[in-house]
Amino acid sequence: MPATRESGIGIAARPAPRPRSSPGYARRRAVDAVARWIIAAIATAAIAAVALIFLFVAKEALPVFTSPEVHEEVTIERMVLPQAWKEGATPSFSWQPVSKVPKYSLAPLVVGTFKVTLIALIFAVPIAVLAALFSAEFAPPRVRETLKPAIELLAGIPSVVLGFFALMVLATFFQDTFGFTFRLNAIVAGVGLALTIVPVVFTVSEDALTTVPKAYREAALALGASRARTAWSVVLPAATPGIFAAIVLGFGRAMGETMIVLMASGNAAILSADPAVSVRTIPATIAAEMGEVVVGGAHWSVLFFLGSLLFLVTLVFNGLGGWYVGRLRRKVGGTS
């Protein structure tokens, strides 16, 4: 067996030759060969799934580029550049697909998506990374063994329940405390979203922190640093690439999350940098409008176009994050 096999548990490639006389030998060999091919064939399902997802979402989006009928309502140019929607009006960005003059500016949605995602990261990253540092450096084993399942449990709560919580409890609490004009806004949605990405950021960060070589800690302690100083100035910087990967993965997750934002953001496509006004994100737009569009129409195609964008962008972010995590694991040589 070649030494490069990392998992090295698979069954030896060539079974030893057997006497031809053993009963049913040919039949058993045939079954074995057939099973092997069937298993390999079924294993293509995952590849097929990813390919089909992109193909069929992109296929429905294609008319945005090619169909003359769709172009009467919307073109790429009209989605990207500011438009004067009325004769003589100042050009502006506006998303109003259902109106006499359908308006399809992507800017409010893109800005809204990034705004909510950033707010989620601002809340989630410090808490999740600090908690990971606590779990990796300070927590007694028993505390760690409670903390990790608790965070897994948080990850297991359906997003519609978190959205419901943000809508019913957080929104009211925030409005009473800070006096927001809009009850549902980017901050409420962002905090709700933070709840879904805390587990991702925590898990990957904790992984990165625990794989920092022990020698680093020992060297720092031997030089007279306290455990706190070691954790903050040695372990945390050494784990930076992994924590960066955690943030990137959290970003990808937050951007694609639908139900929380759909329920708690107010869903008004307002182009603004103010975090206290309502926003509409790309996933929430798809979820809210998909039910009422004409199959194959301009609006339908634009929603699938948004879906394709979302697919590609999250693919890039997950790819980046995964590449970092993979490199980290290889460097340390651990398995997981």
Partner: protein, 301 residues
Amino acid sequence: MTRLTPHQRANFAFGAFSGSAALVIVAVLAFIVWDVLSLGLPQMSWEFVSAPPRDGMTAGGIFPAIFGTVLLVLIMTAAVIPVGVVTAVFLFEYARPDAFFARAVRSAVYNLAGVPSIVFGLFGVGFFIQFVGGNLDRLFSDGRVVWGQPAILWAALTLAVLTLPVVIVATEEALRAVPREHREAALALGSTRFEALWRVVLPQAVPGILTGAILAVARGAGETAPILFTGAAYFLPHLPTSGHDQFMHLGYHVYVLATQSPDIEATKPILYGTVLVLLLVTVILNLVAIGLRSRLRKRRS
């Protein structure tokens, strides 16, 4: 009391600081569970889980939504387990980890896990409803729309694609826990690779595969975005009886009750009750899976 050294003080302060971050996470989790429990529990009754809704969703129960969710998840499980288990068997037992095809499968599984759930919804519409359903109708029902519309089968298959990575990852872990010697012993006794797999390896991996199935069910039961337009309905007078019927669903019920109710105060008790049922289902399933897995890991080491 002895005075603390500067080191001890720094350690204590920083430990408490980072520990408070962990505490915040646990506290928020506890608060969500407490809020839903305290407002949802008074709603629980036999009628609530066994009767259909009445009076414009302000009274009665949520039985159709429970039924729809369970049926949905059962169809999903039937579809995802065989494919997921076989894929994991291929990756772990047959493929060389550095072979191109195995790496392609692995990367596809990884990317599949990162696709936003709303994109799965679009995929369900574009592929299952429009393409598969539409073509079935063209071939078998003379253009009448039977399969080319939102239906429980399409929603379940969409969820099956979404939960595929969960099953694959859990099965691989289960296979990794089967000692290598067992495979070698089976082969040394003259079994073929498939016989060793079928009679020796897989039976030992069953608890781990079960863990994966439970995690997939917990995930599938809670996902709402992919079923928004692939088959869920807010209210149906009948339970789904065939694969091309629409269905009611706990998550979708929560979404509509919370966002589109004309009188939120009147529907609030039902809403909290529904959230409690959904939360209980997913939390209990997750706890079972976490417990099962940690027991398996302990046994292994």
